[in-house]
């Protein structure tokens, strides 16, 4: 089971599938980092709507992906954490510090566009 990565304008969207294994998640990290270069993507949406849980390994790896992509020049936003998943993560103490979150793909894409527009203006 792999994670499909779609191109949407200047952004990439990684669509997580349920039942993802640790190895698949680690493979995605490599994959996205390479693709950001290939597609000259300025933004990446990590869409975890389909995940029925995010444990501490998942949170650590997602955070690592977001931080690595930023170093590659792409803004990253994590979208679609479901209410029960958010609740369990809060219980675990997983805060995803430093990672942007948005409700769903639509909100996440909108956030990225505004972010990228601002970046163009401020010369960042």
């Amino acid at each position: 089971m792999r994670v499909p990565v779609l191109k949407q304008g200047a952004c990439l969207v990684a669509v997580f599938q349920p039942g993802l294994t640790d190895a698949e998640l680690l493979a995605l990290r490599e994959d996205l980092s390479v693709r950001v270069g290939e597609h000259r993507a300025r933004g990446v949406v990590l869409d975890v709507t389909a995940l029925d849980l995010i444990d501490s390994f998942g949170a650590r790896t997602l955070r690592g992906i977001a931080l690595a992509l930023r170093l590659r020049g792409a803004e990253t936003v994590l979208v679609g954490i479901q209410p029960d998943v958010a609740f369990a993560m809060a219980q675990l103490g997983l805060t995803l510090e430093g990672v942007d979150t948005a409700l769903d793909l639509e909100e996440g894409t909108a956030l990225l566009s505004r972010r990228l527009a601002a970046r163009r203006h401020n010369g960042r």
């Binding site: 640790d22 029925d52 849980l53 444990d55 501490s56 390994f57 369990a88 219980q91 675990l92 997983l94």
Partner: protein, 136 residues
């Protein structure tokens, strides 16, 4: 105790199988969606610890009845190296490796009862119990 489900834990796919089995058993018992996510997440943490620190082990899932209430019981068991300082391992943020150190203390917060039996060279057994809310 009723019938048990045993999931051998050897590698990452087994972690997924174990948590999915826990979710399924919990659902059949009548747990709500939020509790099922807590149960599956706790199992995921324990199963991954087996893979990471013991190499192999098993997760046993069972339904029990205690004091007139139904309980989901999760036992994570391995013959790995054991934990030298359990107090430390149960602290938020302490990891002997690259982890966040939230698995054991987090799993504890997600259930109603938590027991850990471990000693260097004697393996590790963690038992979780989650009581079915009354009126289910």
């Amino acid at each position: 105790m009723d019938a048990e489900t045993r999931v051998p834990i050897l590698r990452d796919v087994d972690v997924v199988t174990a948590r999915q089995s826990g979710r399924a058993l919990g659902a059949s018992l009548g747990f709500g969606a939020a509790d099922l996510t807590l149960i599956a997440t706790a199992i995921s943490e324990l199963a991954r610890n087996i893979v990471d620190y013991a190499g192999r082990g098993e997760i046993v899932l069972a339904i029990a009845e205690e004091r007139g209430r139904r309980v989901l019981v999760v036992v994570a068991r391995d013959d790995g190296p054991g934990i030298p300082d359990v107090g430390l391992a149960l602290q938020d943020g302490w990891s002997s490796g690259r982890g966040l150190g939230l698995g054991l203390p987090g799993a504890r917060r997600m259930v109603d009862e938590f027991e850990i039996d471990t000693a260097p060279g004697r393996g590790t057994t963690v038992t979780l119990k989650k009581w079915l809310p009354e009126g289910r």
